[in-house]
Every structure is written in C-alpha cells, then in structure tokens.
Subunit: 263 residues, 3 copies
C-alpha cells in the first residue's frame, strides 16, 4: 500500500485540502494519506522547499509526496512529477523541489501532460485538485512516472543561500525560523563544531557552541546543532526570533574570538 503525503499553503478551513483528499480517496482508495502541513505561509516557495527536506527521505521508497505551493497556478509553469531515490514527488515547477533535488542523484523528472492522469475540466486556479492529486493517485496505483508525460531536464531551482568562509570565519544566514522561534542556519555542523569559535547573529553574541538547551539558563540565547545537523540559534524555553528580533535572511557569523569584528 502506497503512502501519500500532502504539503500545501492552503490552510484547511476552505476545503481545498479536503477536495484533494476526496480525489485521492476516489482514485487511489487503498493509499494511506498523511498530512505533512497546510500552514506554509501563502506562496512561500522557499519555506515549502525547506520543510519538504525534513521528511521526504524519512518516508520509505514508493511513497508519494505532493507539494502544492503554487502562486503561478494557471500560468505556463509546468506541473512536475519526479522520482528521487525511490520516492515520488508531485509539484509545480517553481522551485519548491529545490531542496530535495539539491545534490540528488538517481533523479527522473517529467512534466505532467497526460490528460488520462488529470481530472476532466481542469480549473485555472486549483491544480492541487485537478492535476497534482490525480497524478499522485496515478503513481500510488503503481502506474509509471513516464506515463505522466515527457522527461524534463531543466526544473526551476531556487538559489539556496550558501555559507562561505571569509578570513577564517564562517558567514551564513538564517534560512528558517520554526514555531519555537529557533533560528536555523545554512551552516553545517562540520563548519561550526570547534571549541574556540563563537556565534554571532546580526552582530549579537550567541556564545560558543553548546550541546543542549539545558547548557544555559532559561531565557538565555545559545547556539547548538539542530536536528538537521545545521547550526541553530535558540533561546532556552523561549523564542530566539523574538528575543533577538531577527528572522530569515539574518546574517550569522561563526568565528574565533579575535575575528568577531567581522560580524
């Protein structure tokens, strides 16, 4: 039995997600459907790309991940279906697959064009119901990726911000702020894990790298390695985003003490 996940910016109250689930129930009745999230900020493709990476490969091969964050719906943007390392992905061609395509090998990618894999009478505003859910059902039933449409070799990719090494320091940025106000950076563990380094966010000191929240007092800022093996800045029992008043895009510097002027 295939498992299908749904990631959207639809919220749930309007029934758009339920409409997709109805299509899946009708067209892939044996599949199990998991809600990933529906509260991605409206149109925030980068946020969706980030979230998808958190769970995509934790699901077993054969799973089908549907992503509908689609501000360009109705335009000429393509609808994509992909197989990456044995999992399937269905999404608009707007960069939302950037995270899972990044550094991936073993990728097959097609544009969804086969009318037999779509609902009849496709709307101009709701391809989640009319194209993406039917395509997911198609894959969940075990029909072929290639049957959905022609191969694609040039998917839209977001330019994901990369950390850099500058004069002995590492300069990165906040790429995600989570519900707890944790500031998740694009600086990997291997670049940050050295005892003589200190972390700064927009010029404010976050101290040396700590192991756990409990290493500082409640309310204090700390830097640690988060669950994605990236440097995070947090506040114990609080919100680093609120305390430091920073957000996505904020500059993060990891440097030996004597390099702190860089921040």
């Amino acid at each position: 039995v295939a498992r299908i996940t749904l990631l959207t910016d639809f919220g749930t109250a309007d029934g758009y997600v339920a409409a997709m689930k109805g299509v899946l129930a009708a067209e892939a009745p044996l599949a199990a459907v998991d809600d990933a999230a529906h509260d991605i900020p409206p149109g925030d493709i980068a946020a969706g790309a980030w979230t998808l990476v958190r769970y995509g490969t934790l699901y077993p091969p054969g799973s089908v991940h549907v992503v509908v964050i689609d501000p360009g719906v109705g335009s000429e943007r393509r609808a994509l279906a992909a197989e990456i390392a044995g999992r399937f992905y269905v999404a608009p061609d707007n960069g939302v697959l950037s995270g899972v395509l990044d550094n991936a090998s073993n990728v097959r990618l097609v544009a969804i064009r086969n009318p037999a894999a779509m609902r009849s009478g496709i709307s101009r505003t709701f391809h989640g119901r009319d194209i993406f859910a039917p395509a997911a059902a198609w894959l969940a039933r075990g029909e072929s990726l290639e049957g959905l449409g022609p191969a694609v070799s040039d998917p839209v990719l977001l330019k994901l911000p990369q950390p850099s090494r500058v004069d002995g320091a590492v300069v990165g940025e906040v790429v995600h702020v989570d519900r707890f106000g944790n500031l998740i950076t694009n600086i990997p563990e291997a670049w940050a894990a050295r005892a003589d380094l200190r972390v700064q966010v927009e010029g404010r000191d976050a101290g040396p790298l700590r192991a756990i929240y409990g290493d500082v007092a409640p309310g204090q800022v700390l830097a640690l390695i988060g669950s994605a093996a990236m440097l995070e800045i947090a506040v114990r029992d609080g919100s680093a985003a609120a305390v430091l008043e920073v957000g996505r895009g904020s500059r993060v510097v990891v440097a030996p003490v004597e390099k702190r002027r860089l921040a």
Copy 2:
C-alpha cells in the same frame, strides 16, 4: 473499507477531535479517517456548509462525512444522518447540510434516535463524541441509515444568498473569503463570462473577467472564475480581502460598462 471525514469548529488542541477519532477507532476500526478541517470559525454554520460542498461529492460513494459545528448542542435540535447521491452525512440539524442538500435528488434523511448507535451516558455539550462519531461508525460498518432513526422531511436549511439580474446587470455577493483573501461570490460562471462586462465590489472596479492570476501585475486586483466555477475577486500574490477591505456579504456587480452606476 469506508472512509470517514471530519469537519468541525473544534480546533485540535483541546482533544475534542481526538476524542471523536478514538470513538471511531474503537467502533469502526477498519475505516480510514481523514481530517477535512477543524478551524471553521466557532459556530459559523454557513462557513461549514460552504466548505462541505467543496469536497463532499469528490469522495467516492460509501464515504461518511461527519460535520460538527453545533452551537445548539444539548438543545432540542435534532441530530441528522443523510444519504445523498451515495455518500453519507452526519450532522446537527442546524443548516450545515444546506449546501449539499441544495438541488440534491436521491436524498434519504433520518433523525438519529437509536440508543444502540450512541455512546451510553450522553453529555450535554459534546455530541460529536457521543452521537455523531458513533453514528458515523455505524454507517461505516455498513449498518443501515434507517436503523439510526425515523425519516425526516423538514431539515433546517440556511437561506443561501442568491444572485439576481437587475436591469441588464448581475448583482450578487461575496459568500466566502479564503485563506488567500480571495473573495468568492455566488455568481456562477455562466452569468459572468462575457467579454463586455466589468466586475465591481462595493462600488470599486475589479476590471473585466480575466483567465488567470498572471493576467495582471503582482498586487493588482482581478476577477476570474475560481475552482468552484463561481466568480472570484483576487489580488495577484496578495489578498483581495485586505486590499479592498471587504468580506462576506459584500455586494458584487457584473455589468456592461454603461451600467456601472448600479454598483
């Protein structure tokens, strides 16, 4: 295997929805349960009725749709179970089924009265757990609609606002505002789709009918046909509700240019 959907105004944090799921797991262990939405505004029967129409018939026949938006819980209002075009619905008799009953043929409707289909010790405040979930499990197990109670012929129906034709123009109103701030009207595609017409919302011009969001610049207002085949007013990459400062009940006029004084 039957599929059961849940639509409520309960939110999830209080455990009321989970309590209903527990009852379903105990009494219909083979059924699959889909969350439709739990963030309908508290007590907003019209919003629930609107949302239910978005997905009710997309589910396959045999599905059981549970709707618990129930400000009159504990009073003499009846608990209903219905079969409409092969799908089952379980809900309080307060109008929340109006949308799916509207123009429906092939309707069977009963009042839930059979104690064998309820939990023992029914509370005065939580019929979702004590009456509606058990009734849904009853139907999902394949037991009969008539077994739940006596036939009903006079369900409570909301007076849904209808568009009208006035002196060559169409006058309707906003019936739903979605998460994106799209203003969804009660004017059907067939009444709005003519090239010489312009759309106005509370006297403000929304232009002629467009095909897709991409037909205007970001931030601009446009009118288009939405996924329910009704006229919608939107802002590309933005919220029409916020930009135009209008909401449910706002007046919408579709008229030839020379009739615009009607608005």
Copy 3:
C-alpha cells in the same frame, strides 16, 4: 493493525511532525496514524497532559499514544514508554503523562534505552523523530514494552490542582480554557450538582448550575457540566474567557447563596 496517535507542540509547518510520520511509515508501515493535536502551546506540559486524558482511553486497547511536548529534550530527562489499561504511551518523563497515570491501576512503565529501538545518530533536539516515533513503531509492531528498557517506578508527576471543601463551599480552579473560551474547572459533577448552589469565578457570579447552553440568552454567562463530567463556565454563543477576562488558574467557588462571601 495498530493505531498510533500523535500529540505535540510542534505545529506542522516546520516538518517536524511529518518527519515523525515518515519514521512511522518506514518502521510500522501497517499502522494507521491519527493526528491528535500539534498546536499545544510550546512547552506547555500541563496542557498536553490535560488533552491526552480527553482521548487516551477512548481509543481501543493496543493503540499507541505518542506525546512529544519536550522542553527538556537533550537533557538527562528519561524517555518513557507505558502500558496503562491496555493502551501504550510514549513520552518524555516530564509529567505529561500525569493525567493518564493519575489513579491508574494496571500500569507498566519503562525507560526507553534499547538502541535497537532508536534511530542511529540521535540528535540532541529532536527525540520525537529519533526516539519516540521509533519506540511507537516498535510497540505498534507488537514488540514488547520490556524490550524497550528497564522498569521505572518514579515517573515525574505534575501536582494537579485539587478542589477542596471549605466551610460548606467547594473551591476549585480553572484548569483549561478551550477554543470556545469555555472555562473548564477541576470540580467534578458530583461536587457541583445541587440546586441551591451558585457558581462564582474570581468573585463574579455565574449563576446556578444549568443543563445546556440554551438555558440562558445568547451572550450570557452560565455554569454547566461539560463533556469531561467537570464543572464548566461558558458564555452562550461566546467566550467566557473573553467576557470574564479570566484563564487557567482562576479561582472558582461553588457555594450556597449565603456562602458567597467566600469567593
């Protein structure tokens, strides 16, 4: 087929819940997974404990309830697995199981220690993915509770506020405020159900005990017995929390008229 429920304070947008679901899909592919709630206020252990009681025992024996509200993640706090009256619970040892452990007999409790029941490379910040979801999968597959680790006899328990009888009156407090603004108290039905009593919240009169919301006019405050068989204070078609400007911890007195000075 086992059923697994998830209760967290993670929200959904960050993908943490989806990551747990991915682990469950990989490690217990036949289990059905229900979302209980993910919008518990961040770190609010008491709220989680309260919510869990609402549904824990409504699920059938063999169900596995996962609770991850875990501000102490990464510290020395233990990870617990329990069997209580035939249902399984997996949670951090921080008191979040207090409600279901309270007055429970037939409890087996272990500390999760077996590396074979965990993901390899456990993070310091996300035991939901690395420890709790794998342990839930372990139990859902029918493997033994004792196989997870050694027995525990001293779980952390919250000091749940208890009502008291004072000079002929009952004094309790608000222990939960739900989405509707209902004030749920720790005063059981048997202590409040007497015709000559009146209810007060922080010194403000909520009247005698009523049967249903419909017993007062819209907008009026009333006291009634809620779905947990506890005294609740509500406002018909409104929010008691907003109208009375009170919340969790507020003092509630049930007293004969002549005792009202107690409040």
